[in-house]
């Protein structure tokens, strides 16, 4: 099949290099439905990010990743390194969600909630407030240095750095209790590592949102590269309806374009000027497009002014564009195998993860056999094996655990007084299992430790081997 190649007007030079100096992009601000969605997402994600560390939960920070003590506190949960499976589950769920959203509606993540997008949005808002709109910014950059320019630029950077450092501080606050961190900062007693990470993360925010912006998406981001592999012909993408728009030409308002043998596009260039990655969507889907829908808003305002129907640029699918489908037909195509499979796996994983969190016992036990002494005869003619049990208390109160064992006749546990483990601590205890000598056949026998939390009555079973010498 043949594809129509939309020619790109070359820069006029006969030869081009493989590298080029970056051209700065000055996106014009825009109002509309998708711009509102973008801002809603900015507020939602940042309220969560900046707010969460300040929420207290039963005398401690609600969400705290204490790396030094190797404990993660999330709401009422205390997670140990042994709970890594939950982190894996979370990451797999995140990946599958990305696959699902991308298959359905293209680069939604990139356009609305990716931190790179969100912080760029915030930084551009600051820039807009201080330096003015697109034309004002371009003029300011072009003019020679003056006192006014210096003040504006300095002011902008100071605000940027303020936001960036606050972001870094918040980030570190997830790993070090943020209130203590704040106090330490006020008394200038922050640890050197904390200071380093605040500045590191702050610098990354400042650099990426202030200077790199769309280049992160274009040249650095791995997700941007592989999301295009998840597109198919039924994926919603930002498209320009060439059939309706072409041939494009400026015209006066009030004329029927069909009489002038023109399409609906008036070639105002607004969609190009609002694009945060600086592309012209009218050339079709390009790898730079992050699917933010700002050009849709921009074009709609123009269409409204021209009294033409809206959505000359819109979210649509390739099949939908070719066949001229209605919304209902588009929605129907969402229920295709790829999406259904993603949804099923995702739902199964989410349900599985939540279920395992609900039935999770608030303590864990590891059984480690003594490797050196296989078995020994204890006084009183009993055969003895030694184990070390690591009991991990994942609650926030001291607990008492009673250790029992079964699986062999006459199996006894010693010492059998309850073991006390402090809140969110773990403890190793040496435990001996004994059977009367000669009652158990030689070899490796399976026994089960039953560890019972005396306060809640919950019980954990752990399998172990009991060795009987010949």
């Amino acid at each position: 099949m043949t594809r129509k190649i939309v020619p790109i007007v070359s820069a006029g030079s006969e030869e081009v290099g493989l590298y080029e100096a970056t051209k700065k992009i000055y996106p014009r601000s825009v109002r509309g439905l998708f711009a509102r969605w973008r801002w809603a997402m900015v507020f939602l994600t940042q309220l969560l990010f900046y707010g969460l560390p300040w929420v207290e939960w039963g005398g401690r920070q609600m969400v705290l990743f204490d790396l030094a003590a190797r404990r993660f506190y999330i709401f009422g949960l205390v997670l140990y390194p042994q709970d890594l499976i939950y982190l894996s589950g979370l990451l797999v769920i995140s990946a599958l969600s990305l696959f699902l959203f991308t298959a359905v509606a293209g680069r939604l993540w990139c356009g609305y909630v990716c931190p790179q997008t969100v912080y760029t949005e915030i930084f551009m808002w600051v820039e807009h407030k201080i330096e003015g709109n697109r034309t004002a910014r371009m003029r300011l950059d072009a003019e020679p240095m003056s006192l006014e320019k210096l003040v504006k630029k300095w002011f902008k950077h100071i605000v940027w750095i303020g936001i960036a450092l606050w972001t870094g501080f918040t980030f570190v606050g997830y790993f070090t209790p943020i209130r203590e961190l704040g106090m330490a900062f006020l008394q200038t007693q922050m640890g050197s590592w904390e200071v380093f990470w605040v500045f590191f993360y702050g610098f990354a925010t400042y650099g990426n949102a202030g200077f790199m912006r769309e280049q992160v998406c274009k040249y650095m981001c791995p997700y941007a590269r592989f999301q295009s592999a998840m597109f198919d012909r039924d994926t919603l993408i930002v498209t320009y309806d060439a059939g309706r728009g072409e041939p494009r030409a400026p015209r006066r308002k009030g004329h029927d374009p069909r009489m002038l043998a023109l399409g609906d596009c008036i070639d105002c260039g607004l969609c190009v000027r609002v694009c945060p990655t600086g592309i012209d969507i009218r050339q079709g889907l390009q790898y730079e497009c992050i699917g933010c829908g700002l050009c849709v808003d921009a074009c709609d305002t123009v269409m409204q002014k021209m009294a033409y129907p809206p959505r000359l640029i819109r979210y649509d699918t390739q099949n939908g564009m070719d066949a001229g489908w209605s919304r209902r037909q588009l929605l129907w195509r969402v229920l295709r195998p790829r999406v259904l499979v993603y949804t099923t796996i995702l739902a199964a994983l989410v349900i599985g993860l939540l279920a395992s969190l609900v039935v999770r016992t608030p303590f864990k036990v590891d059984v480690v056999r003594d490797r050196a002494s296989l078995a020994r005869i204890a006084e009183g003619g009993r055969l003895e094996n030694v184990y070390r049990l690591q009991i991990m208390n994942a609650t926030e109160k001291p607990r008492h655990y009673r250790i029992a064992a079964d699986g062999l006749d006459g199996l006894g546990v010693s010492p059998d007084e309850p073991v006390t483990v402090d809140a969110a601590e773990s403890r190793w205890v040496a435990v001996r299992l004994q059977v009367p000598y000669g009652t158990v056949p030689a070899g490796s026998q399976t026994v089960h430790f039953r560890i019972r939390d005396e306060d809640s009555g919950m019980q954990v079973s752990e399998k172990a081997a009991f060795l009987v010498p010949r």
Partner: protein
């Protein structure tokens, strides 16, 4: 750096590393100079599979800057740290040195903790919950491999929790055992005892000393033959801590219980060793361990230990 068999491989690695970096420099320089004809549709002119064309999306210059930075960093790194074959780098850094430095630092940080117990009598240290926790960790890392996690030993490895001591159970003796190690040696005694029948008789006599089940006729016959053993184990087999000779009149059977185990011991003897810990552990650590071990057999119960 003894990682290389000879000088050649060291040089080979160094040359390959440097040539790779030089290769990167050349590649970067060539691509930066390369000009291609600008085509109308922004492609390089390469076509695969009939319609697949390579677009020329120029890389921004700052990427090139980053490449240059990595090259500079790489060369700087190789100059400072070991990486070029057996060249040690200017900083003389090594992972072993780092480990030793960290160990020294940790020891320095722990010094005040140990200092608290340095002058405290062992009997007092054994009662201290924090000291017990430290002792437990040291024991788990350095002693439990042989003596067991619960310090009750196993065949050939003494139980440290009972009152039966081969070399003495005073704090000083325990410190000495840990520091200098111990060697237990029993020569094969079959020839000194007599015939195989005599050996069996002596074994039964030994069982009778401990009040274990035995053949009383054989034990009676073996009693006279026990003089060969009494040189070390003492009259009545009560043992001798100066020699490390076990007490045969109690119910502790370090090297196996029963007639056959005793016969084998008389016939073949035994060479047993506890390795010396000096040099591996500091004096302060040995003292903590001694208190911890001494506490077992003296029924020291501490307040609930914090893990």
């Amino acid at each position: 750096m003894s990682d290389f068999i000879n000088r050649f491989w060291s040089d080979y690695v160094a040359v390959v590393s440097l040539l790779s970096i030089l290769g990167c420099v050349i590649l970067l320089w060539l691509t930066a100079r390369k000009r291609i004809a600008a085509s109308a549709d922004n492609t390089t002119g390469h076509v695969w599979d009939e319609d697949l064309r390579e677009a020329n999306n120029p890389l921004p210059m700052w990427w090139v800057g980053l490449f240059v930075l990595t090259i500079v960093f790489g060369l700087g790194y190789l100059a400072v740290f070991p990486g070029l074959g057996s060249f040690r780098g200017q900083s003389d850094w090594s992972s072993r040195g780092e480990y030793e430095g960290e160990l020294a630092r940790a020891m320095q940080e722990l010094a005040p903790v140990y200092a608290r117990y340095a002058t405290m009598p062992v009997e007092e240290v054994a009662k201290d919950p924090q000291a017990k926790a430290i002792g437990e960790r040291l024991f788990m890392n350095n002693c439990a491999q042989c003596h067991g996690s619960d310090a009750r030993g196993s065949k050939g490895f003494p139980n440290l929790t009972d009152k039966d001591w081969l070399h003495g159970g005073t704090p000083e003796k325990i410190v000495e055992s840990i520091t200098k190690g111990r060697v237990g040696m029993m020569p094969p005694m079959a020839a000194a005892v007599g015939t195989t029948d005599d050996v069996k008789n002596v074994a039964n006599y030994v069982l009778s000393l401990a009040g274990e089940p035995h053949d009383s006729v054989r034990a009676g016959l073996g009693k006279s033959k026990f003089t060969a053993c009494a040189a070390c184990h003492g009259i009545g087999g009560v043992g001798n801590q100066a020699l490390g000779a076990p007490n045969l009149s109690d119910k502790v059977w370090l090297h196996g219980y029963g007639e056959s185990a005793i016969i084998q011991m008389i016939n073949t003897g035994k060479q047993n060793e506890m390795p010396a810990q000096e040099g591996r552990l500091t004096e302060a650590q040995i003292r903590m361990l001694a208190s911890y071990v001494w506490g077992f057999s003296n029924n020291i119960s501490t307040a609930a230990t914090t893990p």
